[in-house]
């Protein structure tokens, strides 16, 4: 394969692999806005346009977050007069958190799989209902005879526990 062709191939692969982290990055900053896909699409466009400027020896995600951050600021500016949005201080703090863990995605995903196996049957059932069967808290509440607030608190604690477990495992793996 020609060098330039190989580079393009690697770029496509990295852009593809970056979609989920970019989606999480933008969603977190937009606080669940329905415009996440639009901002992601704009970010992808920018990344395609600047593909030649990407240095394959550099971490792709950190480079891509720059473009996403810019697109988020543009979006925020357009929204700020009509809708409540996070302050720039919040966005900056979120950006820093994502950059700090940008290249550990694969290890984190693998650790998540191991941590899921340690959950109780009931916790796994809740996750299956929400993430695999895509049930809303409302319908889960009806089926499990509990309130949405109680379910929200349970998911909050499950996520908290999983993240602690992931960090422990990553830390363990790093020695």
């Amino acid at each position: 394969m020609h060098d330039a062709d190989l580079e393009r191939s690697q770029f496509v692969e990295r852009l593809t692999a970056a979609q989920q982290p970019l989606f999480a990055y933008i969603s977190t900053m937009l606080g669940g806005s329905s415009h996440v896909q639009d901002v992601l699409q704009d970010t992808n466009l920018d990344l395609w346009a600047k593909a030649d400027e990407y240095d394959p020896d550099q971490p792709f995600l950190r480079w891509a977050y720059r473009f996403a951050y810019y697109r988020i600021l543009v979006h925020r500016k357009a929204q700020v007069t009509t809708k409540l949005v996070f302050t720039e201080e919040v966005l900056s703090a979120v950006d820093k958190r994502f950059r700090d863990q940008d290249e550990a995605q694969n290890e984190r995903l693998q650790a998540l799989g191991e941590c899921l196996e340690r959950l109780s049957t009931q916790q796994r059932k809740l996750l299956r209902m929400k993430y695999e069967e895509r049930m809303s808290l409302k319908s889960m509440g009806r089926q499990l005879n509990t309130t949405e607030d109680q379910l929200a608190s349970r998911f909050y604690r499950i996520r908290q526990g999983l993240l602690r477990c992931i960090r422990f495992r990553i830390g363990e793996a790093m020695g």
């Binding site: 393009r8 979609q19 669940g32 466009l45 395609w48 409540l84 996070f86 979120v94 607030d149 929200a152």
Partner: protein
């Protein structure tokens, strides 16, 4: 009254579900302002949520670049460098569309866009020491895959198709991803777990068509020809391919298996599989186990297979191939030490009434051979003759099923929810060889005809005990 943490948990739930209101965002801004730890917790929650979505909801959770719209300007700037398109063309289809908009009844605005479509259909969700074969898709954990060949010479990997089907493959294997609902397995072993909404998922091999009907199953496509299919849960429709004739579709249920050969246009019984401590969890290679098992009552048309579990006897292990029942210690002392870690055979509970059954065990090394007999059945003649009652007992924990409502629930650990008591019988075999076990039907015990099938286990003799005097 709702605590601040409960309020925060509720807002986070709204945010990740995409239904947060302005009031939610205002509340979050105020909390972040009041104490930066809330911001840390917010990012933690989002972080964990999107990881979970990535892992568990591949069909919708992973955003895809299946329709990146490239403006004319971007495309034009690339036209002088055709190389960028050559890779794109490999997995990316380029289409030109004209979008025409009507504006205020007076203006026609026409723009032309190029739409690049990357057809991504699966995600690599686990890799264990994989060495990819040359010339195929090389992927990392989390990589998204396009249709095409994927092959490895070592290791195991797990792919999650966008249909929700999870496929674990063990090298060496070669398969072609056709679309999220179809795989061509050229060679190798895999285990597929198909969620209910992906019913109809199909695997094509040289010898057979397999169409899932909501299940978990294993497939072994041999390089030399021949495909074996094992159903671990649910059901699968299989059809042998034939050069000469139309073959019938067979439906396999839990605990059933078939081997198909295209050259012979045949389907034949698979007598046993061996459980493995691996991602796939099964193998047809019995060289790692002390026992090999066969019986006399099923001809080649039978679909039932025994399962041998090397070193697997422990609390809460499955007892039978055809029921979700478990072996357990009868009290908190647990299973008798002599049985822990033994090789064991999952038999068929339905054979409890087979009056002419003869199970033949091939024993590979000197062993203590154990038979577990339901307390409700009287010991049959062959057991009294060849085995001794050790005085030890173990329990069977039964789970009610649609057709067999016995038991209450599956307990966890020893002494929890034990439904039946089994006596442990032993026979010491100083030499490798063959042993025949008979039926329990016909023997009259206190159960008035109600009893379960016996269990079988073997434990290697210590070296000094295996030396003949």
């Amino acid at each position: 009254m709702q605590t601040q943490e409960e309020l925060f948990a509720r807002i986070v739930a709204d945010v990740v579900d995409g239904v947060a209101t302005d009031a939610d965002v205002a509340e979050l801004n105020a909390m972040f302002d009041e104490n930066p730890q809330w911001l840390e917790k917010y990012v933690d929650q989002c972080d964990a949520h999107y990881l979970l979505q990535w892992r568990l909801t591949p069909a919708t959770g992973v955003p895809q670049i299946e329709s990146i719209e490239l403006p004319e300007a971007v495309v034009a700037s690339r036209r002088n460098n055709p190389l960028w398109l050559s890779r794109v063309a490999a997995g990316v289809a380029i289409a030109a569309t004209a979008a025409i908009a009507f504006w205020l009844g007076t203006w026609w605005i026409a723009t032309t866009k190029l739409i690049a479509t990357v057809n991504l259909i699966a995600t690599v969700t686990r890799l264990d020491d994989v060495e990819w074969a040359d010339g195929n898709q090389e992927s990392q954990h989390g990589s998204r895959l396009t249709p095409g060949t994927i092959a490895a010479s070592a290791g195991t990997c797990e792919l999650t198709l966008d249909s929700g089907v999870v496929v674990a493959c063990e090298a060496p294997f070669e398969l072609e991803l056709v679309d999220p609902m179809r795989i061509n397995l050229v060679t190798g072993r895999l285990r597929a777990k198909v969620p209910p909404h992906a019913k109809g998922f199909a695997i094509d091999t040289r010898d057979s068509w397999l169409v899932d009907q909501g299940t978990e199953f294993g497939v072994d496509a041999s390089k030399q020809g021949g495909t074996s299919v094992f159903v671990f849960d649910g059901k699968v429709d299989v059809q042998a391919k034939s050069h000469h004739k139309q073959t019938a579709i067979r439906r396999l249920l839990r605990g059933e298996a078939l081997r198909m050969m295209v050259n012979e246009s045949s389907m034949e019984r698979v007598m046993q599989i061996v459980s493995e401590d691996s991602r796939l969890g099964w193998s047809t290679d019995s060289s790692d186990s002390l026992i090999s098992v066969a019986d006399n009552i099923r001809g080649p048309d039978s679909l039932k297979y025994y399962e041998v579990v090397p070193r697997g006897f422990a609390e809460d292990v499955m007892a039978f191939v055809d029921r979700p029942y478990e072996w357990n210690g009868i009290n908190n002392r647990g299973l008798p030490p002599m049985l822990r870690g033994a090789d064991y055979v999952k038999t068929f509970i339905d054979d409890r009434h087979a009056s002419t059954i003869r199970i033949t065990l091939t024993i590979m090394e000197p062993v203590d051979l154990f038979v577990f007999l339901d307390d409700r059945a009287a010991p049959p003649e062959w057991l009294l003759r060849d085995f001794e009652d050790t005085g030890e007992k173990i329990g069977l924990d039964e789970k009610p099923t649609e057709f067999y409502p016995g038991g209450d629930r599956l307990g966890v650990g020893p002494g929890d929810s034990v439904d039946q008591i089994y006596h442990v019988w032993r026979r010491q075999l100083q030499e490798p060889g063959m042993v025949a076990l008979g039926a329990i039907s016909g023997s009259s015990g206190r159960g008035g005809g109600r009893r379960s099938m016996y269990g079988i286990a073997a434990r290697r003799l210590p070296v000094d005990a295996s030396v003949a005097p």
